[in-house]
């Protein structure tokens, strides 16, 4: 019996987290918890049984999102990946979660520290794969002599700029799906050494 109750409790918690991700993605991170309770079809009080504070729910949802993205990135990546296929994979994962991710980068500065750290954890995973894909090119000087973090941040800046202004770049549909090829091509041209570009 106790086991069954434990399982039910875990399932309800999971349902609330999934509902929170959906509601945050549609209406932002300051949406009242009652909207999340409605989406999850649980009583408002039930949320606070599982999450003592609003921030607990927010942090837990963001961590589950971060874990999911990290899992996808890890499972798709290969030690032999070159930078072009890594960028393609990164955009592919973001397209799958585009609405939520867009919300996350839009509101990240207003989030509590622990929730922001869940975002940095995603970036850490991306950057590890980025580093592995670029290391060889950097050692063999196929890439311009720029500090690694600036190369990484240049890519993130480009992708985030298009996401944050998606209403201007792609009023309908996924901005990343529409601009994926030009973003990747432009970025590769920027970081490659002159003679590599000519090849």
């Amino acid at each position: 019996m106790a086991e069954k109750r434990q399982l039910q409790k875990a399932q309800t918690k999971e349902r609330i987290t999934a509902a929170a991700l959906k509601v945050y993605s549609e209406n932002g991170f300051s949406t009242p918890t009652i909207a999340i309770a409605n989406e999850a079809q649980v009583s408002h009080g039930s949320i606070f049984v599982h999450f003592p504070t609003v921030d607990d729910l927010l942090i837990c949802s963001l961590e589950s999102f971060s874990d999911e993205i990290k899992k996808e990135l890890h499972s798709l990546s290969d030690p032999g990946n070159d930078i072009a296929s890594l960028l393609e994979m990164h955009i592919g994962v973001l397209i799958k979660h585009e609405d939520f991710y867009k919300r996350l980068i839009k509101e990240a500065v207003y989030l509590p520290e622990e929730a922001r750290n869940a975002f940095i954890a995603i970036q850490s995973t991306v950057s590890i794969h980025f580093l592995h894909a670029l290391e060889k090119d950097m050692n063999e000087e196929r890439i311009k002599d720029v500090p690694f973090h600036m190369i990484f941040n240049t890519w993130m800046g480009l992708v985030h700029y298009y996401l944050l202004n998606s209403d201007l770049f792609a009023p309908r549909g996924s901005v990343l799906a529409q601009y994926k090829d030009s973003l990747i091509e432009c970025f590769l041209t920027l970081i490659k050494n002159e003679k590599e570009v000519k090849k």
Binding site: P79, A121, S127, M150
Partner: protein
């Protein structure tokens, strides 16, 4: 697939494990040169430096993020209250 208990990295290939030993629970990045696992302070420092090197964050923000990541890992369970 095993995840490193000290940094969370999934360990797919033998080369991901400390000393290429697949019976180990921690990864090559969490091992000292002699193969033993890094201490809490060593890991905190190396993770912080890694975040600074790869993402360019300020030291303070990088350390806070490193501690957040470590908080969830089995190796450091007893290091947080």
């Amino acid at each position: 697939m095993k995840n490193c208990i000290a940094c969370g990295m999934p360990m797919k290939n033998a080369s991901d494990f400390a000393m290429c030993d697949e019976s180990k629970d921690y990864c090559v990045y969490c091992a000292r040169p002699d193969g033993t696992m890094q201490s809490f302070d060593e890991k905190k420092e190396s993770l912080t430096n890694f975040i600074i090197k790869t993402q360019g964050l300020a030291a303070e923000a990088a350390e806070s993020a490193a501690l957040s990541m470590m908080r969830k890992l089995p190796a450091w369970e007893n290091c947080f209250d």
